[in-house]
């Protein structure tokens, strides 16, 4: 025994193991010296119960272990490991390796246990276990499906995510083979990869494949598979990760689908469908390109789309394209029309509308789509139309110019004809026959002149050049004279002709008597000409409240139906061509009347029915002339065709002077200050200047002196001063009109200045040549 303890001590000293002998009573009989390394005195431990050195938590295991060992059972290393107390109170894990010593009869008498410190190993094991727990957790949880598959294809382990994805419970999965749930179309590819993996050709593989779910539906997944081999290098487990790709696949499918649709449309469209890169290079072109442009898609793809656009239109197209790209498709696509030069050199017009498309993720323009439509026909029609319009306008202009020129050319010799006829008629010693001939000559010449004037009036009306000059006019006399001119004709035709006023009109009205007379002569003349039986009745009316003059010309003629009434006031229209031949006239009369009445701010119309006679009416605004002005209008003083420059800074005084002078036929030009007066006097001739003395900027005296000095058309014409001063030194002035302005004084001064004593010769002989 002593030799055996010595041997144990020797081994213990070399290995660091602790040898302990325990009797069946579990009392320590021997402790090797190596126990000193753990802070114990070996001899002090002999006689102690072994259990006293064991961690209380391990007592049960220790007792069971010891009992089992004495019974001769063999125990695993883990169950032979317990925590033992050191001399300084720490705990160390020691793995025991017990051996039972038996007597000759085979009864156990002693257990020799070799204890080895496994604290470090246990700690490492604990760390490994923790790591394994983390890995397990990672395997079990998370969105990615994971599985371990045996080399024969069975699922060994499977996580809940994969179960959810495939719709099977874990238990169901464990009896399945991966081949059972792989879409048949994807199986070959999968198996081929597995083979390559198994043969070591690839370390792992990634595959998009479809699984068949428990409910029969299909799920797209991205599969990642790697292989774990055993120590001999044989396949042990396939580690599988499964990512759900349904969403991505749906999007891709939608894209593929829409692209297929796009192509379907593009390939079959008559329009040209283009896809451009943001730099303008064509990346797709529909087959219709060949028919439209003569280029095959493959000839154009990869080149800039601009190359076939007409050089003059390139900038415009490039600009529209660029705008789309720069605005990242946010600018509204604009429709541009441009010329394309076909491969055969022919030009066609194309309309297109480029639109940029942006990748929502990056915000970058990915491509620009465009559809080009051949609009050559439409464009040609437009161009023809534009040309036709230009031609028509040119023709209209030429016609107007021709009319104006012709009427001038006609009027000049006509002026001579009428002029000499008058001169002849004025001769005192004319034989009766000659006088009769001359009178007839005058009638014909005047009719011709009236026609020419009609045409000239009409072209002026069309050009908006007719000027309405109201003056104080006695309306009763105007009406009586105008109607009276047809008395002879009416009685010749056996018609009655009457005129009357509805109520009493003002003595004087402000109106352009020449123009009103022209309208009256036209309407009354027509009525008399076109009425065969019965008569013509003219009724006039002045509405003092509305300040409007109205006149109606009623006849008992054939009347007019609605169609005839509609074209009545249009130019060159006579209701019946045969009537025109019978009665003469340009057919412009009513159109001219309409133009004149409208220029006066009034209106004109007809009330008629076929067989029931016609009533032509016209009306226009006219103010009554103020008492003094009315008196002036009735005075003998005539300022007809006198051109007066009225210079006055006070608007009320200007108004008053104008109201006095205009009704007498003076043409009044107004200036508000001396500077304006000097400018106007330098530009156009006047017969008289009325000049206020006190004005800002340039006073009346200085202005008058400037006009006298500049040698212009008015340097030597009469200038009258307006002044409140009693005595005015004449200087540049020919006379003074005192302020406040009195009508009589003003008229006297003006008449004296214009028709003054300087007049020589005769010449108030007012014979109208026109």
């Amino acid at each position: 025994m002593k030799s055996s303890t010595a041997a144990m001590e020797l081994i213990a000293a070399q290995t660091g193991d602790v040898f302990v002998c325990v009797g069946p009573d579990s009392v320590i009989r021997f402790m090797s010296g190596s126990a000193r390394a753990y802070g114990h005195d070996p001899s002090a431990l002999v006689g102690m119960a072994a259990l006293d050195l064991v961690h209380p938590d391990d007592h049960a295991a220790f007792i069971a272990n010891t009992t089992a060992s004495f019974r001769g059972e063999r125990l695993s290393p883990a169950s032979r490991t317990h925590r033992y107390r050191t001399g300084d109170g720490r705990w160390v894990s020691m793995e025991g390796n017990p051996r039972i010593i038996r007597d000759r009869r085979g009864r156990p008498v002693e257990m020799v246990n070799v204890l080895r410190d496994v604290t470090e190993r246990r700690e490492a094991e604990a760390r490994a276990e923790a790591e394994a727990a983390i890995l397990r957790s990672a395997f079990e949880h998370g969105a990615v499906g994971k599985a371990l598959i045996t080399p024969d294809g069975r699922f060994q382990r499977i996580n809940p995510a994969l179960c959810d994805l495939l719709g099977y419970s874990e238990a169901e999965m464990l009896v399945l083979d991966f081949r059972d749930i792989t879409h048949p179309d994807d199986l070959d590819a999968d198996l081929e990869r597995v083979r390559q993996l198994r043969d070591g050709q690839i370390p792992s593989y990634r595959l998009d494949k479809r699984y068949l779910r428990a409910d029969g539906s299909i799920v797209w997944v991205e599969l990642t598979v790697s292989l774990v081999r055993d120590e001999r290098g044989d396949p042990k487990l396939y580690v599988v990760q499964v990512q759900d790709q349904t969403k991505r696949h749906n999007a891709e499918a939608a894209l593929a689908n829409s692209e297929a649709q796009f192509r379907l449309l593009a390939e079959n469209a008559g329009d040209l469908v283009l896809v451009n890169r943001p730099d303008g290079v064509l990346s797709y072109l529909s087959p219709s390109a060949l028919a439209m442009t003569g280029y095959r898609p493959e000839e154009a793809i990869g080149r800039s789309a601009l190359h076939w656009i007409h050089p003059e239109d390139r900038d415009r197209v490039a600009e529209a394209f660029q705008e789309q790209v720069l605005s990242r498709g946010e600018a509204p696509p604009c429709v541009i029309a441009f010329r394309v030069v076909r491969k055969d050199g022919r030009e066609i017009w194309v309309e297109s509308s480029p639109r940029a498309h942006v990748d929502p993720a990056s915000g970058q323009v990915t491509h620009v789509t465009d559809a080009g439509r051949d609009i050559t026909q439409r464009k040609t029609a437009e161009l023809l139309l534009a040309e036709a319009k230009v031609a028509a306008e040119a023709a209209a202009e030429a016609k107007a110019l021709f009319l104006a020129t012709m009427s001038h050319e006609l009027r000049t010799p006509l002026t001579a004809v009428v002029g000499f006829a008058r001169l002849t008629a004025e001769l005192a010693d004319l034989p009766d026959a000659a006088r009769s001939y001359v009178d007839k000559l005058l009638v014909g010449a005047k009719a011709l002149m009236a026609t020419v004037n009609d045409i000239l009036d009409f072209s002026k009306l069309e050009a908006g050049q007719v000027e309405i000059r109201p003056r104080a006019v006695a309306p009763r006399a105007l009406l009586a004279e105008s109607v009276g001119m047809f008395e002879g004709l009416a009685s010749d035709r056996g018609l009655t002709l009457s005129q009357r006023w509805n109520g009493i009109p003002p003595a004087m009205l402000m109106l352009d008597d020449d123009r009103v007379r022209q309208v009256l002569l036209n309407l009354v003349g027509n009525a008399v000409k076109f009425t065969d039986t019965g008569g013509v009745e003219v009724e006039a009316d002045y509405n003092a409240d509305g300040r409007r003059f109205r006149c109606e010309v009623r006849d008992t003629g054939p009347g007019l139906n609605e169609d005839q009434q509609a074209c009545l006031f249009q130019r060159f229209s006579q209701v019946d061509g045969s009537l025109a031949r019978k009665h003469g006239g340009t057919g412009l009369g009513l159109a001219i009347c309409k133009g004149i009445v409208e220029a006066m701010g009034g209106s004109i119309g007809v009330i008629s029915a076929a067989g029931a006679g016609s009533t032509f009416w016209f009306e226009f605004p006219a103010d009554p002339a103020a008492g003094a002005l009315a008196a002036a209008g009735e005075s003998d003083l005539v300022l007809a065709d006198s051109r007066v420059l009225l210079v006055e800074d006070n608007a009320t005084n200007r108004e008053l002077a104008r109201l006095i002078l205009k009704p007498l036929g003076a043409e009044v030009t107004e200036a508000e200050n001396g500077v304006e007066a000097v400018r106007l006097a330098g530009e156009q001739p006047f017969d008289l200047i009325l000049m206020d003395l006190h004005m800002p900027e340039l006073g009346g005296r200085e202005a008058a002196e400037a006009i006298r000095a500049d040698g212009g058309p008015n340097a030597d014409i009469p200038i009258l001063a307006f002044s409140a001063d009693v005595i005015v030194e004449h200087g540049p002035f020919d006379g003074v009109v005192s302020k406040p302005i009195e009508i009589a004084a003003l008229l006297r001064a003006v008449a004296e200045a214009i028709n003054g004593p300087a007049a020589e010769g005769g010449g108030s002989d007012a014979l109208a040549a026109g």
């Binding site: 030597d716 020589e760 010769g761």
Partner: protein
């Protein structure tokens, strides 16, 4: 037709249309004026310079020298004593009016015109001339 008074003013008419020319001069004679005439621009210049009329009626469209050229020639080299000039034109043109005024014309009338208006304008020309008996139709003389 009675002859004008010996002291009656001489009115010069330059007009290429013989009928118009005849009509105008007849009217002027009936109104008591002496008249002289020309139907061509150069002739007009020579006769106006020679006769020194109290007033001139000058058609814009004259053969040879146009009315404006006649006016310019008279302004630049004309002797004193020529009466004021009125231009006659067939067109009512703003630019014609401006040109005429700039060249020294004192009046302007569009054809055809009423006799009364023509006589009224002639009276105006004579009044202007009467104020400045020695005035040439020249802007350069009056500064």
């Amino acid at each position: 037709m009675p002859l004008p008074q010996a002291e009656a003013p001489l009115i010069f008419v330059a007009e290429d249309d013989p009928l118009m020319l005849d009509l105008i001069t007849t009217r002027l004679k009936l109104a008591g004026y002496w008249t002289a005439q020309a139907r061509e621009g150069w002739e007009a210049v020579h006769r106006i310079q020679e006769m020194k009329p109290k007033a001139v009626l000058l058609d814009v469209n004259l053969p040879g020298l146009s009315g404006f050229q006649v006016l310019r020639t008279l302004r630049d080299g004309g002797p004193r004593g020529i009466g004021p000039v009125m231009m006659l034109t067939a067109r009512n043109s703003e630019s014609d009016l401006r040109t005429a005024i700039a060249l020294g014309a004192k009046d302007y009338m569009t054809k055809p015109f009423e006799d009364a208006r023509m006589l009224q304008r002639v009276e105006r020309l004579l009044r202007i001339g009467a104020r400045r008996p020695s005035a040439a139709p020249s802007a350069s003389v009056i500064v």
